[in-house]
C-alpha cells in the first residue's frame, strides 16, 4: 500500500444488442456473461410495429442508450421473409447510424448452442423452425452444437434421422416419430446477446433458402394463330 500506481484503465465494457425476428421478435442486451434485459413478442404479424419500441424498452430497463451499444448481433434467418427483413433492416440501420459493428448469425445456431450446453447430447441433432407451406427450415448439428453444413428447407419427411428440437419440432407428426423430444423450443434472446458474437458468421445476406415466388408471363393469351412481328420507334 505504499505505491500509488494508477490502476490500468479497464477495457471499455462491451454491450451487445441482439435482434432476431426469424420467429418471434427477440431482443437481448448483454454485457459479457450478464444479461441486462430481454424482450420477446409473439405476434408474428406485427414485427415492424413492435421491434423498435421493444428495443427502446430493453435499453431503458438496462439504463442504456443506443450509443452505449458496442456490438449488434442479428439473426439472418432462416425465417418468413417479411418479418425476417424487419429485424435485419433494423439491425443494419442501427449499426450504420452508430458506426457499430454488426454480426449476422444463423438463427438456428443459438438454439443448438443452448441444447448442447444444457443437455450435453451424445448424438447429432436437428434444429427446425416453421417454414410454412408444409415445410421446415432446419440444420443438422454435432453434439457440441457445431452446425454441420448449411441450413435447409424441406418437407418434414426429408429431415435426417436424428432428434429434432427448436420452434418447428412439434409441428408435424413425421418429426420425432410423433414423440416429444427434450430440448429448447425457442430462441433465447438473452443467450443470443451473451454468445452471439462467438457464433459462426452467417454473412450479410438473409438466409432466404427459397427463391421469390414469381413467374415470368407466358406469351399473351390469344385465339389468333399467327403473330406478326411488331416494331417500335421506326423513323
Amino acid at each position: 500500500m505504499t505505491e500509488t500506481t494508477p490502476a490500468p484503465t479497464p477495457a471499455p465494457e462491451r454491450v451487445v444488442l441482439a435482434i432476431d425476428t426469424a420467429t418471434d421478435i427477440c431482443i437481448g442486451l448483454a454485457s459479457g456473461d450478464t444479461v441486462l434485459a430481454v424482450r420477446r413478442e409473439g405476434d408474428r404479424r406485427a414485427h415492424v410495429e413492435h421491434l423498435t419500441a421493444l428495443i427502446a424498452e430493453a435499453l431503458a430497463e438496462a439504463g442504456l442508450a443506443m450509443a452505449d451499444v458496442t456490438d449488434i448481433v442479428v439473426g439472418m434467418g432462416p425465417g418468413p421473409f417479411t418479418g425476417l427483413r424487419v429485424g435485419i433492416a433494423t439491425a443494419e440501420t442501427l449499426a450504420w447510424a452508430g458506426r457499430t459493428p454488426v454480426h449476422g448469425v444463423c438463427s438456428l445456431d443459438v438454439v443448438a448452442y443452448e441444447h448442447a450446453e444444457a443437455a450435453q447430447p451424445t448424438e447429432d441433432f436437428v434444429v427446425a423452425a416453421d417454414a410454412r407451406r408444409k415445410e421446415l427450415y432446419w440444420a443438422l448439428y454435432a453434439p457440441d452444437g457445431t452446425r454441420i453444413g448449411q441450413p435447409h428447407v424441406s418437407a418434414p419427411e426429408a429431415l435426417p434421422a436424428a432428434v429434432v428440437i427448436g420452434p418447428g419440432a412439434d409441428l408435424y407428426p413425421a418429426v420425432n416419430r410423433g414423440q416429444r423430444s427434450e430440448g429448447p423450443r425457442a430462441i433465447d434472446p438473452g443467450l443470443l446477446a451473451r454468445v452471439g458474437l462467438d457464433l459462426p458468421d452467417a454473412g450479410d445476406q438473409p438466409l432466404y433458402l427459397r427463391r421469390p415466388d414469381a413467374v415470368a408471363p407466358t406469351s399473351r393469351k390469344s385465339t389468333l394463330v399467327s403473330h406478326k412481328r411488331l416494331s417500335i420507334g421506326r423513323l
Binding site: A46, H47, V48, E49, H50, L51, T52, A53, I55, A56, M66, F81, T82, R85, V86, I88, A89, T90, A91, E92, T93, L94, W96, A97, G98, P206, Y208, P212, D213, A214, V215, A216, P217, R220, S222, T223, L224, S226, H227, K228, L230, S231, I232, G233, R234, L235
Partner: protein, 358 residues
C-alpha cells in the same frame, strides 16, 4: 406565444413502397439530396413488380442509399428536425423495410418519426421545384402513377386533401403496362409507349374515352376508367393481326396515349372549374409522360389555369418527395407518429400522415 420557426425543418425522407428505394434530405422546400436505387430491371421479365423481389432489393439498397444521401447533403444527423417515411399506401413487404430503417434511425438519433402518405408525397414534391403552394390560388392535383389515378382538391398538404375523383378500375399506369404487352413492347409501358407515340399519328385510331359519355358524367364526372380503353386496344390489334395486316405500333401507341391524355386533362380542367381551383398541379410517375404534359399545358392555358408540374426526374418515386411532405407536416406543428407505426397498404390519400392516437 409561439415563435415562428427560425429556419425551415431539415428532414430525412425514406421511400420503399414499390420498386424504388429512395432516400432524400430537404430543408423546407430546398432539396439537398435525393438518392434512388431502382430494382426495375429485376422485374422486367415478369412484366410487373414482383413484391418479394422488390422487398429483397430494398433491404440491399437502403443503407448504401442513406450513406450516399448524407454524403451528398453535407449535413450531420444531429441537425435533423425529423425523419419521414412512407407508411402507405404500397406493398407491405416493401414498406416495412423503409419503416424499419426509419424507426431505427429515430431511435439511434433520438429524432421524431413521421409516417407519411406516398401519394401526397407525389403532390408535395413540386414544392421542391416551384416553392410553396399559393394560398390565394386554390389547387387541384392530378395524380397519375402506376397504381393510382386521382383528382385531389388540396386545401393544404397536411390536413386538407379531398379526393374528388379516382379510377373505378385500372390506373392509367396499369393501362400503359398492359397495352405495352399487347404491342410486344417492354415493361414498364409508360416510357416505351411515350417513345413509340412520338413517331405515330395520334388521330390514326379513335379509341374510347372512358366515363365521358353524358350518362357517365352524371355519376362519374371526375372519375376515370381505363379498362375499356385497354380492351379496345387489345381487340383492335387482334383484329388487325387476324386480317394479316402489320400492326402500326407507333400509331396504336400514339392513339392510345392520346385517349389517356385527353380524358385526364379534360376532367382535370373540369374539376378545377367546378371547385374554383386556379392552379393545377400534376404529380405521379405518369406525370413524366410527354403528351400528358403537353396537352395539359394547352388546356390549362386556354382555361386560364396555372399549371405546376415537377420535372420528370422528380415524378417517379423518391425520398425527397417524402422528406418535403415531412417538412410540411413538421412545420405545421403536428405531433410525431406513434412508435408502433406500421405499414398501411391502403392508406387513404386524404390522410397525409399518421397522427398519434387521440
Amino acid at each position: 406565444m409561439t415563435e415562428p420557426r427560425v429556419s425551415a425543418p431539415l428532414v430525412l425522407g425514406i421511400e420503399s413502397s414499390c420498386d424504388e428505394t429512395g432516400v432524400g434530405i430537404v430543408r423546407g422546400d430546398q432539396m439537398l439530396a435525393n438518392e434512388v436505387a431502382s430494382s426495375v430491371e429485376q422485374h422486367v421479365r415478369f412484366g410487373g413488380v414482383v413484391p418479394e423481389v422488390a422487398s429483397r432489393a430494398h433491404l440491399q439498397a437502403i443503407v448504401p442509399a442513406l450513406e450516399r444521401a448524407f454524403e451528398k447533403a453535407g449535413v450531420s444527423p444531429d441537425e435533423l428536425d425529423g425523419i419521414a417515411v412512407t407508411s402507405g399506401p404500397g406493398l407491405v413487404g416493401a414498406l416495412v423495410v423503409g419503416i424499419s430503417a426509419a424507426k431505427a434511425l429515430s431511435l439511434a438519433w433520438n429524432k421524431p418519426l413521421y409516417g407519411v402518405n406516398h401519394l401526397v408525397g407525389h403532390v408535395a414534391v413540386d414544392l421542391l421545384e416551384h416553392g410553396p403552394l399559393d394560398p390565394d390560388s386554390p389547387t387541384m392535383a392530378l395524380l397519375v402513377s402506376g397504381g393510382h389515378t386521382s383528382l385531389l382538391r388540396i386545401g393544404n398538404l397536411v390536413d386538407d386533401i379531398e379526393e374528388v375523383g379516382t379510377t373505378i378500375d385500372d390506373a392509367a399506369g396499369e393501362a400503359y403496362d398492359k397495352v405495352a404487352r399487347v404491342l410486344g413492347l417492354a415493361y414498364p409501358g409508360g416510357p416505351v409507349i411515350d417513345k413509340a407515340a412520338q413517331f405515330g399519328d395520334p388521330t390514326a385510331i379513335r379509341f374510347p374515352r372512358g366515363l365521358t359519355a353524358k350518362h357517365d358524367l352524371e355519376k362519374h364526372r371526375f372519375d376515370f376508367s381505363f379498362s375499356g380503353l385497354k380492351t379496345a386496344v387489345s381487340r383492335w390489334v387482334e383484329t388487325e393481326q387476324a386480317a394479316g395486316r402489320e400492326i402500326p405500333v407507333n400509331d396504336v401507341a400514339a392513339s392510345f396515349q392520346e385517349a389517356v391524355a385527353d380524358v385526364l386533362t379534360a376532367k382535370a380542367v373540369d374539376a378545377c372549374q367546378r371547385f374554383g381551383a386556379t392552379t393545377l398541379l400534376l404529380g405521379g410517375g405518369v406525370a413524366a409522360n410527354s403528351r400528358l404534359r403537353g396537352l395539359l399545358e394547352e388546356r390549362t392555358a386556354a382555361a386560364g389555369i396555372i399549371l405546376r408540374r415537377p420535372r420528370p426526374g422528380l415524378c417517379t418515386d423518391n425520398g425527397a418527395m417524402i422528406a418535403v411532405l415531412g417538412a410540411q407536416v413538421i412545420a405545421s406543428g403536428a405531433a410525431p407518429s406513434p412508435i408502433l407505426l406500421g405499414a398501411d397498404s391502403g392508406m387513404p390519400v386524404s390522410r397525409s400522415y399518421e397522427a398519434p392516437a387521440a
